[in-house]
């Protein structure tokens, strides 16, 4: 034991290198569909990182929502709107600068958050091996319907009432999405002129 390759570290490095590499490829690629492809690979590598951390549910969510949904729609948009065979995009210098500033600001923020949160300090390999992997969907499901199991230790009695569940936010979000769907269907519906109305074309 001890010697040789420690696979979690190896796969973490592999997946993070893939995610970063493909993310850079998105930036430097000019062909829109290739960009979409690289973006899919980058997001899928991120899903790999989630699976590696034992967060199956979050990983599957990442695959379903980002890799599956968003990019199919993106490609739809590209295919339906492109005028030429293979769309090439040239980025003007101004956009490079704006993008660089925004990106660097975000990286700096995340960097500070990641390295200055005490709970997120790196732990030794022995400690990491001692951590039991918990199934992830169960606490999430319970938190949605009953109460937050991660907050059972909350010492303040008055705060516990607010920790009951995520049902209300979930409901609000779903109603919001329903409104968006109805709006999209309304906007996209075939516009037929009724024969009686003399509406101008």
């Amino acid at each position: 034991m001890g010697d040789g390759i420690y696979w979690p570290t190896f796969f973490f490095l592999l997946f993070s290198a893939l995610a970063c590499g493909f993310a850079l490829a998105v930036v430097f690629s000019r062909n829109v569909v290739r960009m979409a492809f690289y973006l899919v690979m980058s997001l899928a590598s991120t899903a790999g990182l989630f699976f590696l951390a034992g967060e199956d549910f979050v990983g599957a969510m990442q695959l379903m929502i980002y890799v599956g949904g968003t990019l199919v729609l993106l490609i739809f948009g590209v295919m339906l709107t492109s005028q030429k065979q293979f769309v090439e995009m040239k980025t003007p210098a101004g956009q490079w600068i704006v993008g660089l500033v925004t990106g660097c600001a975000l990286v700096a923020l995340l960097w500070m958050a990641a390295f200055e949160t005490p709970q997120w300090q790196p732990i030794s390999r022995a400690e990491a091996e001692a951590v039991a992997v918990q199934p992830t969907a169960t606490p999430i499901g319970v938190a949605l319907t009953n109460g937050r199991v991660d907050q059972l230790d909350q010492p303040d009695e008055t705060l516990r009432g607010g920790m009951s569940s995520y049902l209300l936010p979930f409901e609000i979000v779903s109603v919001h999405l329903l409104v968006v769907l109805i709006g999209a269907a309304y906007l996209a519906r075939a516009k037929r002129r009724s024969p009686s109305a003399a509406a101008p074309g």
Partner: protein
């Protein structure tokens, strides 16, 4: 397995070998499965059309026909059209194939305490559905990169079709999840133990009907006739794989047959009892964990045969449908999904909920008592009803009133268990 190998090998090597064996088995299952299914498709189509199908290669029944085809495909020239986006064109078949194989990572082949599964994913149903949706990406890439109008038409149709059919497919898969109280495919299979009357398809009329909706949507989402609009030989030459030849072309077909197999496996686990045969033969013969490891292992292998048999039967039904029904038009395909499958799935889902709410603890259309495994889930239902009528207090606060250290430990330990509903009900009982 890695722990077992670690007795003989260094730990890092043991993990690698164990992983390689798992992956090797899965790839073999998909590849050999594709070989068998392609042969089966030829035979079935032949018989349906009053022909014999392949008869000569490999002695009887032409059972080596697919291998001969494979050799032929290997020797074909690997063509790339001049106007194509070469990198994407080359990569697209592998994307499809990878997505098709990855679904098998979370599909169990036998249940119990030590299920036969590559990676025991806590949210197996969700994972499989998420990964199956990715196969379309390879098809879209292929259609776009081919620089051919036929390919692009095929890819567009496939994208529209698969994205729409994921909605009713997910709605149908939710019903067994609700009845079993878990997203874990192993748990869903295990609650259907015993006689075939415990299979979730026979749970109530709504599940019986929703199974057929699921099967329709599954056929459509793996792009099989009568929903094979992406290929549509009569209109689009060959659709998204018009420009492909040789091995790359065969990768698309391996992916298609792999997905057919995985949605059929999913159907057999969700609705048809999974690894539990129609009769509890393994229990009669004593092939359970109580009678030693060897008996248990034989029982598990019988379970594998069971689940694969059901899945192959599902694939055969898909072939039967393919050679029986004419292809739909694209607007008919979309109407089938949005006007029929989705509302039907939603209505049957509500029907299953209402049935389970009014008749908890019954199975086989309400005629029989549920087995113990399903009882624990339905207890959660009756408890929830009781709690709703008794008091409006949220259950979490009840839990916290008894939040002494040991009970919290118990609650945390229960979280490693399978079903969220079960946990809710047991927590509730602890609170009383």
């Amino acid at each position: 397995m890695a722990e077992f190998l670690a007795n003989y090998l260094p730990a890092w090597l043991a993990y690698m070998v164990a992983g390689a064996i798992h992956v090797g088995l899965i790839i073999n299952l998909v590849a050999v499965g594709a070989l068998v299914f392609i042969w089966l498709e030829r035979k079935i189509s032949g018989r349906i059309q009053d022909r014999l199908g392949p008869t000569r290669v490999g002695g009887k029944f032409g059972w080596l026909q697919t291998l001969a085809d494979g050799l032929k495909l290997l020797t074909k020239e690997d063509l790339v059209p001049g106007g194509a986006d070469k990198m994407l064109f080359r990569i697209a078949p592998y994307v499809s194939f990878c997505a098709s194989i990855a679904a098998f990572l979370a599909i169990p082949f036998a249940g119990g305490d030590y299920p036969f599964i590559v990676q025991h994913v806590n949210t197996g149903v969700f994972f499989v559905l998420a990964v199956l949706g990715l196969e379309v990406f390879g098809v879209i890439l292929a259609g776009y990169a081919s620089a051919s109008k036929w390919s692009l038409f095929g890819a567009m149709r496939e994208a529209a079709q698969v994205v729409s059919y994921e909605v009713p497919l997910g709605l149908c898969a939710v019903v067994p999840v609700m009845l079993a109280g878990s997203l874990d495919l192993v748990v869903i299979g295990d609650v259907q133990q015993g006689w075939f009357t415990n299979w979730l398809i026979f749970h109530d009329p709504a599940t019986f009907l929703i199974f057929w909706v699921y099967f329709t949507c599954a056929t459509a989402s793996v792009n099989r006739a009568p929903f094979d609009l992406a290929e549509a030989e009569s209109e689009l030459v060959a659709g998204f794989h018009t420009e492909y030849s040789g091995l790359r072309w065969s990768f698309f077909f391996m992916a298609e047959y792999g997905s057919m197999f995985s949605v059929s496996l999913l159907a057999s686990i969700l609705f048809l009892g999974g690894w539990n045969g129609p009769l509890p033969i393994t229990e009669w013969l004593g092939l359970t964990a109580a009678n030693g490891d060897i008996a248990w292992y034989i029982g598990q292998v019988l379970g594998v045969i069971n689940v694969i048999g059901k899945a192959v039967a599902g694939v055969c039904v898909m072939m039967w449908i393919r050679w029986t029904l004419p292809r739909l038009r694209i607007d008919q395909v979309m109407a089938t999904c949005l006007k029929y499958c989705t509302p039907l799935a939603a209505a049957f889902f509500l029907g299953a909920v209402a049935w389970q709410w009014s008749l908890p603890g019954r199975t086989f259309f309400g005629l029989l008592e549920s087995p113990a495994e399903l009882q624990s889930v339905s207890e959660g239902w009756s408890d929830a009803t009781a709690a709703a009528t008794d008091e409006d207090e949220p259950e979490a606060s009840e839990d916290q009133t008894v939040s002494s250290e040991p009970s919290r430990k118990v609650a945390a330990a229960k979280l490693t268990g399978a079903a969220a509903l079960q946990i809710a009900s047991t927590n509730l009982q602890g609170g009383k």
